[in-house]
Amino acid sequence: MSAPATTNDLSRPRGRALPGLIDGTLVTLLLGAAILWFAPVGMGRYGTYVLSLWLVMSIAVMGLNLTLGYAGLKSLAQAAFMGLGAYTTALLTTKLGVSWYAAFALSGLLTFAVGIVLGFPALRVKAHYLAFVTLAFSTLIWLILRNEQWLTGGVFGISNINRPDFFGIKLFGALEFHRFVVAVTLILAVAQWWLIRSPWGRAFTALRENPIRAASLGIDTRAYTLLAFAIGSAYAGFAGALYAPLVEFIDPSPFSLSQSFFLLLMVVAGGAGYLLGPFVGALLGVVLPEWLRFAGSLYLIIFASIVLLLLIACPQGVSGLLERGWTKLTGRRGGTR
C-alpha cells in the first residue's frame, strides 16, 4: 500500500524565485528596509514605536511561517517562545548586566534548544495532535512567567529594560532604536531568504507536501522536522529579545496562548509559505488596529470582519492575492515570494 500525497491547505504555493542570486524577494526586502529606515521621520514617538513593533512581530511571524508555512508543522507556542526570548534578555541585561548582544544570542540559542526538545513530539504526532502538544507548552510557559515571581516578577513583570548601544551610539531614542530594529529585521529576513532558497528550504517544502516520499529520497525527515521547529522558535526568541528593550517593560500578558493564536492568524492572513507574508500579516495584526482606532470599541468587530473577508476571498492570504494579481498582469508567476 502506498500512502497518498498530502497537501497542507494553509500553505499553498508560492511563486518561483527568479534565477540567480538576486531575485524579486531580496530586492523587495532591501527596498523595504531603505524605506522603513526613513519612514518614521515626522511620525512622532508613538508612530515610530508602532512601526518598530510591526517589525518585531514580523520576526516572530517569520519563524512561525517557517514552521507552519514551509514545513507544515502546526505550532501554537510561538508567543511562548517569544516570551522565553524576552524574559531571557530582560533577566540577563537587568539582573546580570550581560550586554544586549550576548543576551540576544543566548535568547536565540535557548529558544533553538527548547524548540529541538519540543520538536520531538512532532516526530510522532502531526496536525492537530501536534498543535495540542504546543498548546500545552504554551500554557506551561505562561504559568511559569506569571507564577514564578522570584524569577520573572510575576504579573508585575520586569521593568527598566535598557536599550543597547551600537558601537558607542546610544539607541535610547525611538528613531535610533527603530533603525536598529530595521537592521536586525533585515539581517534575519535575508537569512531566512537564504535558508528557503537553499536545499534546506526545498527539503522543508518536501516535508510539508509529502513526508513519505521525502524520506524515500533520502531526506532525513526527523532532522528537518526538528530544525524547522528549532529555527522557527529561535526567530521568536530573537523577536522577544528585541521586544523587551523596545517596550522597556515586560509582563506575561503578551506571551499568552491567545497571542500565539494571533501570530498564527498573521501567518495565514499574510500568506503562509510566502517569504514576505509575515510582514503583510504583522501589518494587519499590529498596524491595522491602530488605523481602526477611530472606530473606538467597534474596532475589534471591524478588524475581525476584514480578516474574515480576506480569508474567504483568498485563503492563501494577502500574498496569495498579490501573486494572483501579478500572474494575471504579467502572465507569469513570481514577485511576491
Binding site: 497537501t7 535558508l195 536545499p199 529520497l217
Partner: protein, 247 residues
C-alpha cells in the same frame, strides 16, 4: 554475480490478516526481477516492509549481506536503495527540475554544506540529463502538479534514478501510462539497467510490460510465493494460470 537483496521468511500481519506470509527471495546484481499477483496479494506491503515503511512482523531483509530490516527509508536511500510508489508521489508545487534536484540533493555533501552551498546542490546538469533521458525536456520549468498522469509517472521514475541508486524498487510504474509512454519507460529502464548496472525489482499488473522487461518473475498469492521462474516458465505454470492469469 553477488546477491544485492535478500528477503528471508518475511511476514507482515495486520491483526488477523496475513498480508505477507513467509516470503523469501533474492535479487542478483544487475537483475530485473518482476513481482506479480492479484490485487491484495501483498505486493506493495512487501515493498513497504523491505523499504522500512512498515515494520515486518517477522523475517529479515539484507542489502549486500548487511541486515537492513527496519532501517529508516531515508537511511536506506542513502545506502543506494530507491523506489517509486503505486500512487503518484511527485511534489506538485515544485517544477520538474526542482523535483529532480530534490531527489538527489541529500546525496551531495553534508547538511551544513547544503545550507551554505549552491542552491541546486550542484545537480542542475544531472537533472537536465535526466529530463532529456526521460523525454521531459519541454516541461523542465513546469510545475509537476500540472503534468499529465503519464508524464508524472515518468518524472516519478526519473526521481528514483537521480542519486544513481544500485537497487530500485518500482511499484506499478506502468499503471495509467499510455502505450507510447509505456514504450519509452521500458526503453529507459532497460538502458539504465544496461548502462549503470542498476538492479530492479518491479511490481506490475501489466503482463506484457513485466514479461518483456524482467529476466525473472515471482508470483505472489495471498501473501505467499506461488511460483518463481523465467517469464516463459511463469506463463506456463498451471497454478499461476489458475490463480492470476486466468486463461
Amino acid at each position: 554475480m553477488s546477491q544485492v537483496l535478500e528477503v528471508s521468511n518475511l511476514h507482515k500481519a495486520f491483526g488477523g490478516i496475513k498480508a505477507v506470509d513467509g516470503v523469501s527471495f533474492s535479487v542478483k546484481e544487475g537483475e530485473i526481477l518482476g513481482i506479480i499477483g492479484p490485487n491484495g496479494c501483498g505486493k506493495s506491503t512487501l515493498f513497504n516492509c523491505i523499504l522500512g515503511q512498515l515494520e515486518p512482523t517477522e523475517g529479515a531483509v539484507k542489502l549486500d549481506g548487511r541486515d537492513i530490516t527496519n532501517m529508516r527509508p531515508s537511511a536506506l536511500n542513502r545506502l543506494g536503495v530507491s523506489r517509486t510508489f503505486q500512487l503518484l508521489q511527485v511534489f506538485p508545487e515544485l517544477s520538474v527540475r526542482e523535483n529532480l534536484i530534490l531527489a538527489g540533493q541529500e546525496h551531495q555533501g553534508s547538511m551544513l554544506s547544503r545550507l551554505f552551498g549552491a542552491r541546486d546542490a550542484g545537480l542542475t546538469d544531472k537533472a537536465e540529463q535526466m529530463i532529456g533521458f526521460f523525454k521531459l525536456g519541454h516541461l523542465a520549468d513546469a510545475k509537476a502538479g500540472g503534468l499529465s498522469y503519464g508524464q508524472q509517472k515518468l518524472l516519478d521514475a526519473a526521481m528514483a534514478f537521480m542519486a544513481g541508486p544500485r537497487l530500485v524498487l518500482l511499484d506499478e510504474p506502468a499503471g495509467g501510462v499510455n502505450l507510447t509512454m509505456l514504450g519509452d519507460l521500458k526503453e529507459r529502464l532497460r538502458a539504465i539497467n544496461a548502462e549503470q548496472g542498476a538492479t530492479f525489482v518491479v511490481i506490475e499488473h501489466n503482463m506484457d510490460f513485466v514479461m518483456s522487461l524482467c529476466s525473472r518473475v515471482i508470483v505472489l498469492a495471498e501473501g505467499k510465493v506461488l511460483a518463481e521462474g523465467t517469464p516463459a516458465e511463469v506463463r506456463a505454470n498451471p497454478a499461476v494460470i489458475e490463480a492470476y492469469l486466468g486463461h
